[in-house]
């Protein structure tokens, strides 16, 4: 079973899953990780490959430093890695991103039986890229998968959707987005990471390799734009109290009394 996994390098939200301390080879000052749910997708792909045979190709679109994410994936066991990068690609919304990723997947030979990615990323969180890739590649999609079983020429998958536990049959090729529950993520073998960084080759594709035009990608290929950014304004002007734990506890108790959750004397109202 040939599987393509789309991953994204995202700013690090400290996670108990990955111990960044051991990644001393990562050179950049800005901490970046593989989007946690993409890591789950990668693990699932590797498990499927180990059981069914075939190949796992990891693809990412991003700035050159995204190569680190691909090397991690290779160290974890991916067979091939492709970096989609180039100045034209930046500023992309999900419409443009899915277009580039779909173009890359289309170029894979053989065309994958299965395309996997995490349901959403920790930075932009839209959950759009999976479905939008599936649309462009004309693949059936199931989002939020937490169980995968391989049958003769289709998959049986399970997921939670709006309060229903659904069991579905999907014919291949297909695209699935996966959730945390799909599998527990294996730990990265330290030694393999060193090898991944020094020896394995990452394929790099740009605009020309994908046979795309500038106006189809990046900011120009996007339908949405960020008009402005703002920090959420202060909504309440409350008291900010510092001090010894006892002082803090006293303030808390006093607030409970103010709200009549506690009586001024003993017990509750």
């Amino acid at each position: 079973m040939n599987i393509a996994v789309c991953i994204k390098q995202v700013p690090d939200v400290p996670s108990i899953r990955m111990d960044r301390e051991r990644m001393t080879i990562i050179r950049d000052g800005v901490e970046s990780v593989i989007n946690p749910l993409d890591y789950v997708a990668l693990q699932a792909a590797l498990d499927l490959r180990d059981r069914q045979g075939g190949e796992v190709v990891v693809v990412t679109m991003g700035p050159p430093q995204s190569e680190e994410a691909l090397r991690e994936a290779v160290a974890a066991g991916a067979d091939r890695a492709i970096l989609l990068t180039g100045p034209a690609f930046s500023g992309a919304d999900t419409l443009a991103t899915s277009h580039v990723l779909a173009a890359a997947i289309s170029k894979l030979d053989p065309f994958p039986d299965l395309v996997l990615c995490g349901t959403q990323t920790t930075d932009s969180d839209t959950a759009h890229v999976g479905p939008q890739m599936a649309e462009e590649l004309n693949l059936p999609q199931v989002c939020g998968v937490n169980e995968i079983h391989v049958e003769e020429d289709y998959l049986t998958v399970k997921r939670l959707s709006d309060g229903f536990v659904e069991t579905l049959q999907v014919s291949l090729p297909a695209l699935l987005t996966v959730t945390q529950e799909l599998c527990s993520v294996g730990h990265l073998p330290f030694g393999d990471l060193e090898v991944a960084f020094s020896e394995r080759e990452i394929t790099q594709w740009g605009l020309k390799d994908l046979e795309l035009k500038e106006e189809e990608v990046g900011l120009r290929g996007s339908a949405t734009q960020v008009w402005k950014l703002s920090a959420p304004p202060p909504k309440r002007e409350g008291d900010l109290v510092s001090g010894s734990p006892q002082i803090l506890v006293d303030h808390f108790i006093r607030k409970l009394e103010d709200l009549s959750i506690l009586d001024e004397e003993d017990g509750y109202k």
């Binding site: 969180d125 059936p140 229903f164 536990v165 339908a223 409350g238 734990p245």
Partner: protein, 333 residues
């Protein structure tokens, strides 16, 4: 009656599955009414299924001007590609300027595929929607950059301007039994998706965690450090006769069940007292607690954004304070 012009208004996708918990369509209709009034246009709701009479009537009662209805056995279960095959031609034919859907599980997998088919822009999980009456641009506010900032997004050149919104962001209008609306039954060419088959669908067993009804909610964040520390919140909540909620990283770490998640992709609560412990205050979390009457926040970092929305902020270590709070409360019973 200029129907073709009316249909260019604000569309709302009617998501009625799990109806008694899910009021998001009605909430969006209220917001659509607001946007349509400012744009001097109409609110249109889509009702698709094998029997949609009840929903058509409900949507009209909540302020919809026109219902676009389609009944077909293949529309009985929510299926992304099947629904795209019906809705995309309608959008292309009638050309709405704005199209909204609830960020339900279905909405979050249907709307992106539809937006891609229509080659237009879509923003996800908006916490606010406004319209610029001069340009007709929909200003779509979403949390960005991991939730620390708010991003205002626009779709300048592509139409419709699509957005999903999480349940609880907007408020529905009261049901109006006197309302009468138009209902259109457009031609439908259903192309059922044969590559995905729903084999079984079982209602999820949810434990009765009535977070939305609790007078006091105690929320634990990542700063608590461990599952054991998080679990000590239950005693605090019990002493306050409240319930326990959690932020995304806590759920992600598996310290407690998903039903306790608060925020953009979780529940919205408006208790009398909300105590936030060990959470920094990312926008994705705080949108779920904005309506609380009183917010008390405990965090080690005086710069934590949560203090911008607390009525009382206590700068201290959650793990040191928790046992002291519990002890102090035990003494008062």
């Amino acid at each position: 009656m200029d129907t073709s012009n009316d249909l260019k208004g604000v569309w709302v996708f009617g998501d009625y599955r799990n109806y008694f918990q899910n009021r998001v369509t009605l909430q969006l209709i209220a917001k659509a009414r607001d946007l349509a009034d400012k744009l001097n246009t109409k609110v249109i709701a889509l009702a698709l299924g094998d029997r949609v009479h009840q929903w058509a009537m409900e949507y009209v009662a909540h302020g919809v001007d026109i219902v676009l209805a389609a009944e077909h056995p293949d529309l009985k279960s929510y299926q992304v590609e099947t629904y795209c095959s019906v809705v995309a031609p309608w959008v292309e034919a009638f050309q709405p300027q704005i199209f909204l859907a609830g960020a339900t599980s279905f909405g979050r997998e249907f709307f992106p595929r539809l937006a891609k088919r229509l080659h237009t822009g879509l923003s996800a999980d908006c916490v606010a929607l406004e319209v610029d009456t001069e340009t007709g641009l929909l200003l779509q506010t979403t949390p960005g950059f991991g939730g620390e900032l708010l991003a205002e997004i626009v779709t300048p050149d592509h139409r419709p301007q699509m957005a999903t919104v999480h349940p609880g962001v907007f408020q529905e209008r009261p049901h109006n039994s006197e309302a009468v609306g138009r209902i259109l039954y457009p031609d439908v060419d259903v192309v059922p998706e044969t590559r995905v088959k729903l084999i079984r669908s079982k209602r999820q067993q949810t434990r009765q965690i009535k977070l939305e009804e609790a007078p006091v909610v105690v929320v634990g964040g990542r700063g608590l450090g461990s599952r054991e520390q998080f679990e000590s919140l239950f005693e605090l909540a019990e002493l306050l006769e409240g319930e326990v909620g959690a932020t995304r990283p806590v759920i992600g770490s598996g310290w407690t069940e998903k039903e306790r998640l608060l925020g953009q992709t979780g529940k919205t609560v408006k208790p009398k007292l909300l105590v936030s412990i060990g959470a920094s205050g990312a926008v994705q979390y705080t949108t779920g607690i904005l309506g609380s009457e009183t917010i008390v926040a405990i965090n080690r970092d005086p710069q934590a954004p949560i203090f911008n929305m607390a009525d009382l902020g206590l700068v201290g270590d959650a793990n040191t304070l928790l046992p002291l709070l519990i002890e102090a409360l035990r003494k008062r019973i």
